[in-house]
């Protein structure tokens, strides 16, 4: 089937490609333009006056954007570290052992990836108030584990399914302590999985809105909360600037790790949560 495509097909392909490229970047264009506009009223197709006001305000202390940025990074890092700590051992258990009830455990671990956050968080809210975890940063990190953990476990169980424990046995027989074996043998072998799982965990936590809103109770203001507030209050220049700031980490992560990601891995399902 390697005959050259016909001219008609190539024209069709060129047109659809151009349309697809346009459509993929289109929604981001007005956001970028708004961030540099000073006044942009109907019916002007482009702003009548440009300025850096939106950016100046976004980067100033008054707007709270920088505080929110650091807070969001902190919360996402916290959720990522906890996901790695809980997800790596669980992945090892599911990837390397067969045991009774394994399918049930797999089902339980996958379920939070599909059940929407709002179905779970209303109930959690009642107890978090009682436990004093509502309106706290730690409480927000904890609820972010619900969507981040499943993909961490999924990635790690895939890694451990192709992992040969004989290397660990050899290190032990040569006199390495369990800790040294873990650090010098196990960790390097599973590192690619940890990186991919951690990136998904970070991005999934980064994009959470309703979990943060309800458990943070309006006290824990992350970037998406700020973005939502400005978007619904009509400060379009600021909204544009925050949107640009908000998508940068994801783009950086993508550029740094594109080679680790393949559509073949079940982990790509994690993108469905972002």
């Amino acid at each position: 089937m390697s005959q050259r495509p016909s001219t008609g097909f190539r024209t069709f392909r060129a047109i659809t490609t151009v349309m697809m490229v346009t459509w993929l970047i289109l929604p981001l264009v007005p956001l970028a333009i708004w961030s540099f506009s000073r006044s942009w009223f109907f019916p002007n197709v482009l702003p009548s006056a440009w300025s850096l006001q939106g950016w100046e305000y976004a980067l100033s202390d008054r707007s709270g954007v920088i505080d929110a940025l650091w807070l969001t990074i902190g919360i996402s890092l916290g959720a990522t570290v906890l996901s790695v700590l809980a997800g790596v051992p669980a992945g090892r258990a599911l990837g390397m052992y067969n045991f009774r009830g394994k399918q049930f455990i797999e089902l339980l671990i996958l379920a939070p990836a599909i059940v929407p956050g709002i179905a779970v968080v209303l109930g959690i809210h009642v107890v978090f108030i009682w436990l004093g975890l509502a309106n706290s940063i730690f409480g927000v990190i904890l609820v972010h584990l619900i969507p981040t953990l499943p993909y961490m476990v999924l990635v790690m169980s895939g890694i451990f399914a192709n992992y040969d424990p004989a290397f660990e046995a050899q290190a032990r027989s040569l006199g390495a302590s369990p800790l040294k074996t873990f650090w010098y043998v196990t960790v390097p072998a599973i590192m690619p999985g940890i990186i991919v799982g951690a990136l998904f965990a970070f991005l999934i936590s980064w994009s959470q809105y309703i979990l943060t809103l309800l458990i943070g109770g309006g006290r824990v203001i992350t970037l998406p909360l700020l973005l939502f507030n400005f978007a619904t209050s009509g400060r379009n220049d600021l909204t544009g600037a925050i949107s640009v700031i908000y998508i940068i980490p994801g783009i950086l992560i993508l550029i740094l790790t594109a080679r680790h990601l393949s559509g073949r891995s079940g982990a790509v399902g994690g993108f469905g949560q972002i």
């Binding site: 007005p30 309800l214 993508l254």
Partner: protein, 285 residues
């Protein structure tokens, strides 16, 4: 240490999160939906919330709207994603660019996409301004309502924008690992392009498409911030309605919010059933 204990120890941290937070959250939501919560002094369970929810026409309108949003977005995204993957699977100039844009789009949060769609399609948005420039409309109200509209067109546009690359990346990887041998055989046996697509390629990629669609359907059914930004006030999407009931000044509305949360949970349980059917082997390879 026996394997049994090793497995239990290895699973304990993750299972505590799932059982305490996830199952605990669902169980407490269920209890509260029956207005039963001993720690805050509610000890007489009843069905009032479900009665109120299932007898209100607003709930049914919201449910239908949400189902329409989820179903339409998923169906359109699947068809377009398969088309895009077919287009992208052979090497050509635009491919690496689109591939990059697909992946870029995957990392952009839905919320940003929603604001972008709002600025593009609202009645004073970019397209309305272009329409004015070309003399097609005079004032913003002449432009058709594509956001805050009863058919949720803006919401669906946003989901299609985000989910075509998502499903597309999965389908494309699927097609590339299958190769073209099966289709070549079909073609050499006399099938035309269309027949070899419908009878050979499509059945091979459908499990991947379905498992991705389940994730998309469940997400689009339960997402809050996208319909909150782009949706009409009435009827609102079910998650938005549940949130409003939950934050109502009248505390009596809270069990109703929980009852709606349970409806969403039940629907996603059905989705999980389908997901398991199509991805049974995921964990093992």
């Amino acid at each position: 240490m026996s394997d049994r204990w090793k497995i239990i120890l290895l699973l304990t941290p993750a299972m505590s999160v799932i059982v305490l937070l996830f199952l605990g959250g669902l169980a407490l939501g269920l209890m509260r939906s029956f207005n039963y919560m001993p720690i805050i002094g509610l000890i007489n369970p009843n069905f009032d919330a479900y009665l109120a929810v299932f007898t209100s026409s607003e709930f049914y309108l919201s449910f239908l709207l949400t189902f329409h949003i989820a179903f339409t977005s998923t169906a359109i995204s699947c068809v377009l994603a398969i088309g895009a993957a077919l287009l992208l699977r052979r090497t050509f100039v635009g491919r690496s660019l689109i591939n990059f844009l697909f992946q870029l789009n995957l990392t952009v949060p839905h919320l940003v996409g929603a604001v972008g769609i709002l600025y593009l399609f609202s009645q004073s948005g970019s397209f309305a301004r272009l329409a004015n420039e070309f003399g097609m409309i005079e004032r913003p109200s002449d432009f058709p309502a594509l956001v805050f509209d009863p058919f949720a067109i803006g919401i669906i546009l946003q989901y299609v924008w985000k989910e075509v690359p998502f499903i597309g990346v999965i389908v494309l990887a699927n097609m590339q690992s299958l190769g073209e041998d099966y289709e070549s055989v079909a073609r050499s046996l006399g099938a035309n392009k269309w027949q070899s697509f419908i009878h050979v390629l499509l059945p091979l990629i459908i499990p991947g498409v379905l498992s991705a669609s389940v994730i998309v359907f469940a997400f689009t059914f339960g997402a809050f911030e996208i319909p909150a930004i782009l949706g009409a006030n009435f009827p609102a999407a079910l998650p938005v309605l549940a949130f409003r009931k939950f934050t109502d000044v009248d505390l009596a509305a809270r069990p109703e919010a929980m009852a709606m949360a349970m409806v969403i949970a039940l629907l996603s349980a059905v989705m999980i059933f389908f997901y398991i059917r199509y991805t049974r082997q995921k964990f093992r390879n």
